[in-house]
């Protein structure tokens, strides 16, 4: 499916562009982390331990002097509250391991982001291609609908949809745990269907707009007219000529939209519409009350979001640079 020319272009871009390499590495790390979460997470992310709450990350914290009531009188005591390597990134209010939660959070985020992206890609491309290629009334009707969706803030629509549909989650058995390779980890992955559907419902319109404008550009090329004079059907022309020639900007946009999906998903979790509590946004919301004392509760998942988003954006730039000019400049 990927032509030799495309592969060469991507590799060449990877070689010459340091930032692109960094982005690709970040993305691959995230994917790896999400995929092998049960193996990589040092603890069960849902395991609570009330004796180990608010532990700072390793090499942080230390001895602190506090004044408190001991045996009926006020005393100044020295407490050792330094981080340990058992919980490298500390623990939260309930003594759950922050690193493990962040690793599992990557899994949720990527699951939602990639599924929502695939759904919007399919829906957006079909609608955009149809509208752009056929034009006229079809175009007007479809694109006015798209405009209506675009006119509302994405978060508002998703919130409304979640309100209407209600929370719906799928439990997918974790292959590592089911196969018995790993124990002491959650047995199921939680896939928040409502959130995914709601996000897809606002993201596809962006794809549709780009697909439409690309279809309009390509359909006026003479090779499309040539295909028509050869007797190719409209569907055949879209599949064989219009889609392959407009896929690059669509893919680039889709890649970058993955980043905004991650942000929307985290925002929703932050607001309490998570559907699962293994999510970055959820953890940030949980840690918000302790920002003054236990900064790591919110900061660590926040950093993971930043890494994912930056990685995806850099990767999107790589795709754009690698796929576009190679054809326009007539390079091999």
């Amino acid at each position: 499916m990927i032509s030799k020319r495309t592969r060469t272009a991507v590799l060449k871009e990877l070689h010459s562009n340091k930032l692109a390499t960094v982005g690709t590495a970040l993305i691959l790390c995230m994917l790896f982390v999400g995929m092998f979460a049960p193996v990589l997470a040092p603890h069960d992310p849902t395991q609570q331990d009330n004796s180990q709450t608010h532990q700072p990350p390793a090499f942080m914290g230390g001895e602190t002097e506090t004044t408190r009531l001991v045996d009926g009188e006020m005393q100044t005591v020295t407490e050792d509250n330094s981080g340990s390597l058992t919980h490298p990134l500390g623990t939260d209010t309930n003594g759950r391991d922050v690193l493990s939660r962040a690793i599992y959070g990557a899994r949720t985020s990527l699951l939602v982001a990639l599924t929502a992206m695939m759904a919007s890609l399919i829906l957006g491309t079909s609608v955009g291609m149809t509208a752009g290629y056929f034009g006229g009334k079809t175009d007007t009707i479809l694109m006015r609908f798209v405009d209506v969706v675009l006119a509302f803030p994405a978060l508002l629509i998703t919130l409304a949809m979640i309100g209407v549909i209600g929370p719906l989650t799928f439990f997918i058995p974790d292959p590592f745990v089911t196969s018995g390779l790993i124990t002491d980890r959650p047995t199921h992955m939680v896939f928040p269907v409502t959130i995914t559907a709601a996000i897809a419902a606002v993201i596809w319109v962006w794809i549709a707009r780009v697909a439409r404008s690309e279809a309009i550009r390509v359909k006026n090329e003479e090779y499309v007219t040539a295909a028509r004079t050869m007797g190719r059907s409209n569907f055949g022309i879209i599949r064989k000529h219009v889609l392959p020639n407009s896929i690059t900007p669509i893919l680039v946009l889709a890649t970058i939209q993955v980043a905004s999906i991650i942000i929307i998903e985290s925002s929703l979790s932050f607001l309490g519409f998570a559907g699962t509590n293994l999510s970055w946004g959820y953890d940030i919301a949980q840690g918000r009350d302790y920002l003054g004392t236990s900064w790591w509760l919110s900061t660590i998942p926040g950093l993971f979001i930043v890494i994912a988003v930056v990685g995806i954006n850099l990767f999107g730039d790589l795709l754009r640079d690698a796929l576009d000019p190679g054809i326009d400049r007539g390079e091999v």
Binding site: Y223, A226, M230, K240, I327
Partner: protein
């Protein structure tokens, strides 16, 4: 209103052509394509306001009542300035556009209907070579895929057979088969055009529409492509409809030539006749515009370089706004010397197109050293600008003209036009020139032809 008047005119005129209008049954086997009163109007999209006021959208008359035929094995060249409807004509013949009116018969069958019911079958009989070699090949496909595409669509034989056929075609158009796995962006313009030709030949068509196939190429490459086209025409027994704005190219390849102006045929004749004895003033001007010839006819140049818009073409003969030999009025009130008449007609055209409004007049007067902008001065300046002598030879005409000029000097352009509307009206403005038979196969649409 204007639109309706024009429409009825165009239909009348094309019916009154003297190219014999045969019915479908009478068609002889020599005729491959027969175009009968073909019209193609483009309509602007009707906006919301147009819709609310139920206004008709503006029409662009790209092709307006064109009739001709293409014989088997011949090359019919089509020339004309850009915007005269050549490409629209080709695309309508190919069935890519639905004709607004009229029919195209391909081997006796209506193309518009055939394309609706079975485009594939029609595709096997007629193909098109495009103007722009950089846009006519899909940049994502290899040359092999491009040339094989028609074979794939029509499922011609098994795969290995198709590949063999592709190699055969590639060699025929003068490219090496080891280039087949390259992409179009790696080729030069001429090579791409060869690929375009190979692709058009793949289905073994009877008719090839060549839509300015050489206009985007270097002169030396042009010659190679033209030679190639000539060779394959004999080899594959093809008929060509060859569109170009380049007369030398047309002359090289065409058996017959058709000259178009603003969507209408002005002259059609065998190649040598067109080039040696053109009958229509527009053809003469086209011919004289080639650098080697003198840029005028009878010592007169084209009056007005602006091509009128096909949205609102001039009434009567469409060329009358630029024609250097407009027929003088045929009423018996006034008589003109040819030179005088042309100058007066020029005045009329300027008046009508609004190029003699108050601002313009002031400007003209200021250019002269007469500072005062009084009636006499204005009159004089206008006469000078249009080349009208101080007094016309015919006294009635002089009176009419003077009335008009006085009105103009008073700033009343409408009255100025009205004064000369009746007496100075050329038949070319009133009448749509019928297509006249001149000699064997030579037809021209000009009132002068009729008069002679």
């Amino acid at each position: 209103m204007e639109v309706q008047v024009l429409m009825s005119e165009s239909t009348n005129s094309s019916r009154s052509t003297d190219i014999p209008s045969t019915t479908i049954e009478e068609i002889d086997l020599d005729t491959l394509v027969r175009v009968d009163n073909l019209c193609k109007y483009y309509e602007d999209d009707r906006g919301l306001i147009d819709w609310a006021l139920s206004r008709d959208p503006e029409k662009v008359r790209a092709v307006d009542g064109v009739s001709f035929e293409i014989k088997r094995g011949e090359t019919l060249g089509v020339v004309g300035e850009s915007g005269c409807g050549k490409s629209t004509l080709a695309r309508t013949i190919m069935g890519l556009h639905q004709p607004t009116e009229g029919t195209v018969l391909f081997a006796g069958k209506n193309v518009a209907e055939q394309v609706k019911s079975d485009r594939k079958r029609f595709a096997r009989r007629a193909q098109i070579v495009f103007q722009d070699p950089s846009s006519c090949l899909d940049p994502r496909l290899t040359l092999r895929e491009i040339v094989r595409e028609p074979l794939d669509i029509h499922k011609v034989g098994p795969k290995p057979h198709r590949n063999e056929r592709v190699e055969e075609l590639i060699e025929r158009v003068g490219l090496a088969t080891d280039q087949l796995d390259r992409y179009p962006s790696e080729l030069s313009g001429g090579q791409r055009q060869r690929i375009g030709i190979a692709r058009a030949l793949a289905l073994d068509p009877e008719l090839l529409l060549l839509d300015e196939p050489t206009s985007a190429l270097d002169v030396s490459v042009q010659a190679q492509i033209l030679n190639l086209l000539q060779e394959i025409q004999e080899e594959y027994n093809l008929s060509y409809l060859f569109i170009s704005h380049d007369l030398s190219v047309i002359r090289y390849l065409s058996d017959r030539v058709m000259v178009m102006y603003l969507g209408k045929i002005v002259e059609i004749a065998p190649s040598e006749v067109i080039f040696e004895e053109p009958a229509h003033p527009y053809t003469e001007i086209l011919l004289s515009s080639t650098p080697s010839k003198k840029a005028n006819i009878d010592g007169k140049q084209v009056r007005n370089a602006d091509i009128p818009s096909p949205r609102n073409p001039p009434r009567g003969c469409r060329f009358h706004t630029r024609c250097p030999v407009v027929v003088p009025p045929d009423n018996h009130n006034v008589e003109f010397e040819q030179d005088e008449w042309l100058a007066v007609f020029d005045y009329k055209l300027r008046l009508r197109s609004g190029r003699l409004d108050t601002n313009k007049l002031t400007e003209l007067v200021e250019l002269q050293d007469n500072k005062t902008e009084n009636q006499t001065n204005i009159k004089e300046v206008v006469r000078e600008t249009c080349g009208i002598p101080q007094t016309l030879s015919d006294s009635t005409a002089e009176e009419v003209l003077d009335d008009s000029l006085s009105a103009l000097a008073d700033g009343d352009t409408e009255t100025a036009l009205e004064c000369i509307a009746v007496d100075f009206e050329s038949p070319c403005e009133k009448q749509n020139p019928p297509v006249m038979h001149i000699s064997e196969g030579h037809h021209s649409a000009c009132l002068r032809t009729e008069n002679e």
